[in-house]
């Protein structure tokens, strides 16, 4: 009986260790298209949430805008328009509540 109790305790401890050491991952993030004009970074388009492989692909490949942009994502005027062309940089996972 004593041995059984000891075994249960050790199993309990083992499970605690395993649960503490368990892995978790954050695989989704909000993304947006950015550009740099005169040394300042502007957010052009909010792209929404991307997850796992899609997240990697959009960060790696960038995003090509289709139309000329005169305003940034918050509706403010850009110092100079952004014209369609090469893929723009995409940033994901930034904090937006400030």
């Amino acid at each position: 009986m004593k041995k059984k109790s000891l075994l249960i305790k050790n199993l309990g401890m083992g499970l605690t260790f395993l649960s503490l050491a368990a892995c978790s991952s954050d695989e989704c993030a909000e993304c947006h298209v950015t550009t740099e004009i005169n040394g300042t970074e502007y957010e052009l388009v909010e792209l929404g949430e991307y997850c796992e492989d899609d997240l990697h692909d959009i960060e790696d490949g960038g995003y090509t805008i289709q139309d000329t942009l005169f305003l940034d994502a918050e509706g403010d005027s850009l110092p100079s328009p952004v014209i369609p062309g090469a893929a723009n940089e995409v940033h994901c996972g930034e904090e937006h509540d400030h």
């Binding site: 401890m13 503490l20 950015t34 790696d60 994901c92 904090e95 400030h98």
Partner: protein, 735 residues
Amino acid sequence: MRFYKFILLLLPFLLNGQSIQVIDSETKTPVSYAEIEVYELDVQLKCNAVGEVKLTSVPPSFTLIVSGIGYLTKNIQVNEFQSDVLVVEVEKNHLLLNEVIISPTTGIIQQHNLSNVVLKQINNPNSIGTSNLMGTVASVPGVYSIYTGAGISKPVIRGMSGLKVLTFLNGLRIENQQWANDHGVNFTDLGIKTVEIVKGPSSLLYGADALGGVLYFVDEDYTSPNTQQSSVETRFESNSLSTSTVARLKMAGNNFRFNVFAGYKNAADYQIPNGAYIVNSRFKGKTLKTALGYNKNRWIFNLRYNHNSNQIGLPGHTHSANPNPSDFQSSVQNRDRAVPFQLISDHYLSIENKLIFDKSVLKLLTGYTSNSLTEHEEKVTIPGIKMLLTNIPYNLSFSTNINENLKWISGAQGMIVKNKNDRSAENILLPNSSSIDYGTYSLFQFSKELFETQIGVRYDYREISADEIGSKNFSKLNGSIGLVYQTGLYTFRTNFSSGFRPPHISEMLANGVHHGTNRYEIGSQDLESEYANQLDFSLDYNTAHLNVNINPFYNTFKNYIYIKPTEEIIEGYENYPVYRYAQTSSATTYGTEIYFHYHPHFAHRLHLEQDFSFVMGEDQYNQPLPLIPQTRINTNLKYEFGEQKAKIKIETVQLQRTHFLDKNEVASFETTSNDYEIYNIEANFSYTSKKTVYLKLGIRNIFNKRFVNHLSNLKNIGLPGAGTNVYFAINYILN
């Protein structure tokens, strides 16, 4: 009383074999459940209710460390048992801090150690709780920390930090890209018993790079043979809503011993006194630590493994030349991962073999450490930089007692370090590189009555290889000489020591964006090795009720290396300030530490402790060096409650005040810092029934004081430290 005396008289007849009896030096009564460690064998034993314990398979000459609750720890060198029972008398403890402890690095009794060494107990239930391991270490006079919020902190010893301070864990040298202020010590206090802090250059015992000081962490002991201990502890802090849960299990048979610890910590953004939260100061991490020991006759074997994995947000990240502090604050507290952040994963493996001979000990420690550092700046899946740093260290040491007055310690140490960039990263800040170290040393310690002296010499060689520089060699002869003299209540100590540090690959070859510090860093291949020489004095006055220690020092450097901002602009990286590594031909640091502990005779349970830490640093033009800490005064008032019959007992209550003075002498590219005071309070309770539970309850920064420390990485953008923080810890002892 008569009964105990009767038992003592009968003891030699009652006990078989070699035994130890621990008794009170005044009353001559047994000390129940006293703890005994046979130092050479790493074996811990617990006495029974009448203070006795049996010893088996001990060498002819060995060191006993005897401790009991409420008694001073005592060290005894046993050359041979004169009878079957060795009676050890222990004295009631008044001043807790003058414990006699053996240095884990040299095996020399701490009291007799001539170099400037402080031994600090970690996880001490009666010490005021801190948010992280470095917070505990930084409570020692002369020791501070550079930090970024609560998630990143690294040690500063007498104004020296980064590559100038070495960290060891159970003898294993920890390499963790410590060249940057945002690369903190990645392990936690989980399973750590003590840290030995060496202040000043100490290449003699620790090799190259030990220029500013050394932190030598030692894990908790195994449990006594044929016993088992387990506990679960949880901690909570209100300020960052952080939770920390740890589990501990220790088991030991006659020869095999096993420890396992696991922990998980998760913290949200911390709150500053104005009620806002510092965005992205969140962090989380997990730790697994195991140790397997085996001892047979005079052979001791230890296999240790430790894994730490942390995800740490980097607050205060900006590309703006004139950032506004409000840009980094939020009204919402968050703990979700956000860029920029660091992912740090460490593995430490060590294998230790120790052979005990009649008058000597031979020890070989080998191991492997790996540090994977990934920094994400603007992308979650694509790192800005990613590096794997591996190290294979070894340490062979031999110590022998030549005669009863003379001890000789000798050894050889080395390591093979490799740094490799991962191709998945966008940038390469440091190139792939490797280095090979080896060193050999010899140290003599002579002691006679009240006088002791120690002299040693060491030779080190390092070869650094990288494509950009080919191969570069550095070597140096270092030494140390010390003297201690004890007369009456006074102990005088003086020590001269030297150290050297070849330039690190980051200082020679950095050329890129460092996302952690948000700057473009450029190294210099013209840098030469740094050298340091320190003269250190210490005077102790020690009575049963008063302990005063005064410890001035003077440290000179040649070729002092530091990093400084420039006006340069790098094309394509216009948003990053450019920093370059530079060198001054000479520099000095000087200062003093004063420690005072008063324990009034009329109030035996009251303790008043105060310490003062002051350091100044100047270059060859007498201009202040960067990152020299503010002068600090710590005051601690503690009341220890005595025996109580209730199941719930209050053990201690303590009030702490930490005062940092103004810092007006700063480097040309630094700003001054204001003085501030922080008050903390803590109470410790215990509950004993069938099981025992310990409870810690406290408040840090009681008055919600706004403060910005000179060594905070967030100082330049005006972000203060944490506001009021209520915390508690519950430690449930399972057996």
